[in-house]
Amino acid sequence: MSADFLYMIEVVINGLMAGVLYALVALGFVLIYKASGIFNYAQGVMALFGALTLVGIMEGQVPFAHIINATFGTDLHQFGWTVPALLAILLTVGVMILLAWMVHTFVFRHLVGQEPIILFMATIGLAYFLEGIGDLMWGSDIKTLDVGIPQGGSLWVENLSSGLGGEDFYGFFIDKLDITASVVAILLVAGLIAFAQYTKQGRAMRAVADDHQAALSVGISLNFIWVLVWSLAGMVALVAGIMWGAKSGVQFSLSLIALKALPVLMLGGFTSIPGAIVGGLIIGVGEKLFEYTIGPMIGGATENWFAYVLALLFLVFRPQGLFGERIIERV
């Protein structure tokens, strides 16, 4: 096989891996939209907030240290201990559940029955609030996140494949972080599906997603389900934050990964978990292949806009996305 062809295969593989990371972000949007009809603009910021909280807990950082020090004239920054990664992740999950409860109790419970655009606007406000509170709690400097996920190209894959294409081919490059992210994403989706299919709360969640009124009539607590859904979205956001944060450090830009999820949602549909996965993979492969093959001819840096073009092309033929529900409103 020619080296050029093999490099193209490498691009496809890496596109699939990148797609998994996009899908992780998109998954959080889908969970909330499906259960409550809310397009959660704050999903990217939740990933940032989750990762910031995780690093803060791991490093024993005092939350709101700047405010405490400025108010009381103290010089507190660290508790003086560090927390193992696994325990810190569990504690962060607890924080994300608390956040979900607060978001529901203080924001969305008061907006039941409002127009979708009002709910969307509320999530924009929530995004700005979380950005600010994240900075206040943990500071705005770039933080290193090390939860033990290996990074760098897999030498095993590289050595195994290096003989395929002659001297010009150096073997396939696959980042170990991307492999880990893919495994975690598969486990996460499997776990979410199992939860939705085989648990009482999961079935209740699906019932609410199908019909709020009917679910209410059989005694399902909408408040509980919405807190549950926001908690799950928070956990998914935390996983996305860990994967992206391990690569770039935990910083404000993590909140912008939501932009990567939008074309995935347009393509896969806002209400389908498989749609988020397949959409992510198509966007990941599509943008990487386009950048590799066409990018150099038109000046490069095509990935950001090409993802949207690809999604729009799909929308021409399937306005509801690949797996989305077809909604016909008669007037």
């Binding site: 490099y7 490498e10 691009v11 890496n14 990148a18 700047h66 020090n69 950005e131 900075d135 705005s140 400097d141 770039i142 933080k143 290193t144 090390d146 990074q151 760098g152 190209g153 150096y170 490059f173 980042d175 972080l177 992206w244 690569k247 770039s248 450090g249 910083q251 404000f252 830009s253 993590l254 912008l256 990964i257 990567k260 990487k288 950048e291 590799y292 990018g295 000046g299 490069g300 840096a301 990935e303 950001n304």
Partner: protein, 427 residues
């Protein structure tokens, strides 16, 4: 309404709208929020803390206290212009927007409003031509100087011969990132190396395609024109694909602690340009004692001594020296923006003066003139030691190739003058 009431109202109006007298007003178009906040914060802390030190230690400059007027731009060009419009009525002496995008928008505005702008090592390179851009200064060096300094360094590493070598430029796909391309193209022709260009869309969280291409093409060197998260991701991706760190050189906006910390030990050996030598200057101790410990710091003091803090402090020092020169030329401690411009154009920075200020060797010696607003153009190369978490200077200040840069500046400035109906000349 009596005449007395009218006069009182008029006086009150004047007091409320006009700037307070006997103050030197310095706007700080900072960015402490948004995707570039981690870079903007230490720079702004350094910029403000130096002025705070002058206020605390010397009572200001020439007996006039300095007042900072901070406005948050979030590195957003529209917000930067808003900040300029919101602060220009406060009798500001000099703007420094710390953004090439904002700089480009402000160039015609500062000329119309006659307020000088200092874009230290960023902005529009051809603003070095002071006869065409009398209100813009970019000393001590420009982007084109930086590109040339990087190539001169690589020449020195390769026996003054880069023929047959390949250099990849990975750049922020913005006005900032595109600045060095013209110079590097000229230099590639002159020295016979092949230049490949790899743009990264901002903010730069995803760069897999670019680094797969680098892995495939294996250029001899990679030069980076990055900012913010682009730098952190690029350094991590370079480590991931096994690109040698000592062949990877960032410009001076891609060589600070936030850029390398996230990659941990993988960033060891990464090189970057700098226009400032990083060391523990005596002036930093003064800032700690008289500003931070006194509770007057712009931040909590944790950034003191870092690359971008020192650069912010250096920028403030250059502004303070220009104010002192302007006061000397005007024969008065109270100066206008126009007099400040005259001070900037007559600025001379010597080693003796830098030593006197407690920052010996922090930057190159240079003089500014009507014809040359960019100074000497020198820069040094530093390398990250990840184990010690320090930047180690590898070279002294390296001069750029002015024989390539000056004609490019003249050409670009002439085109700007023609487009905008400007007759070049000294003010």
């Amino acid at each position: 309404m009596t005449m007395k009431t009218l006069a009182t109202a008029a006086l009150a109006g004047l007091l409320a709208s006009g700037p307070a007298l006997a103050e030197l007003v310095i706007p700080d178009l900072s960015y402490r929020t948004g995707p570039y906040g981690a870079n903007g914060t230490p720079f702004s802390d350094g910029y403000q803390d130096y002025f705070a030190l002058l206020n605390a230690r010397d009572g200001g400059i020439g007996g006039e206290t300095i007042r900072i007027n901070e406005c948050e731009t979030a590195y957003n060009t529209e917000k930067g212009v808003e900040c300029y419009e919101a602060t220009k009525g406060d009798a500001p002496l000099v703007y420094q927007p710390l953004s090439t995008g904002i700089t480009y928008q402000l160039i015609p505005k500062v000329a119309a409003d006659q307020i000088p702008m200092h874009t230290l090592g960023y902005g529009r390179t051809s603003a070095a031509a002071g006869e065409t851009f009398p209100w813009v200064f970019n000393y001590p060096a420009t982007y084109w100087d930086a590109a040339s300094v990087a190539v001169n360094y690589l020449l020195s590493e390769n026996g003054d011969d880069l023929s047959g070598k390949t250099i990849a430029l990975i750049y922020h796909n913005s006005a900032y990132g595109k600045e060095p391309i013209r110079t590097l193209e000229e230099l590639s022709e002159k020295h016979g190396f092949t230049l490949t260009q790899l743009p990264v869309d901002p903010p730069g969280q995803e760069q897999k395609s670019q680094w797969l291409q680098i892995r495939r093409d294996r250029p001899d060197y990679v030069i980076m024109w990055g900012w913010g998260v682009q730098n952190q991701v690029a350094i991590q991706e370079a480590a991931n694909v096994g690109y040698p760190m000592d062949q990877f050189i960032g410009n001076w906006w891609a060589g600070a602690e936030p850029d390398v910390m996230a990659a941990g030990m993988a960033a060891d050996g990464y090189k970057s340009l700098n226009m400032n030598r990083i060391q523990n200057y005596p002036v930093l101790d003064e800032i700690r004692a008289q500003v931070i410990d006194a509770g007057n710091g712009a931040g909590d003091g944790s950034n003191v001594g870092t690359v971008l803090y020192i650069r912010g402090m250096y920028t403030a020092m250059l502004a303070a020296e220009a104010i002192a020169k302007a006061q000397e030329l005007a024969g008065s401690p109270q100066i206008t923006a126009a007099q400040m411009r005259d001070g900037m154009e007559a600025l001379e920075i010597t080693n003796a003066r830098m030593a006197e200020l407690g920052m010996e060797g922090i930057g190159p010696e240079f003089t500014v003139s009507c014809e040359n607003h960019s100074g000497s153009g020198e820069g040094l190369v530093q390398q990250w030691n990840a184990a010690e978490q320090v930047w180690v200077p590898l070279t002294d200040f390296i001069a750029p190739d002015k024989s390539v840069i000056d004609p490019l500046i003249a050409e670009d400035a002439a085109a700007y003058a023609a487009e905008n109906g400007i007759t070049p000349g000294c003010l």
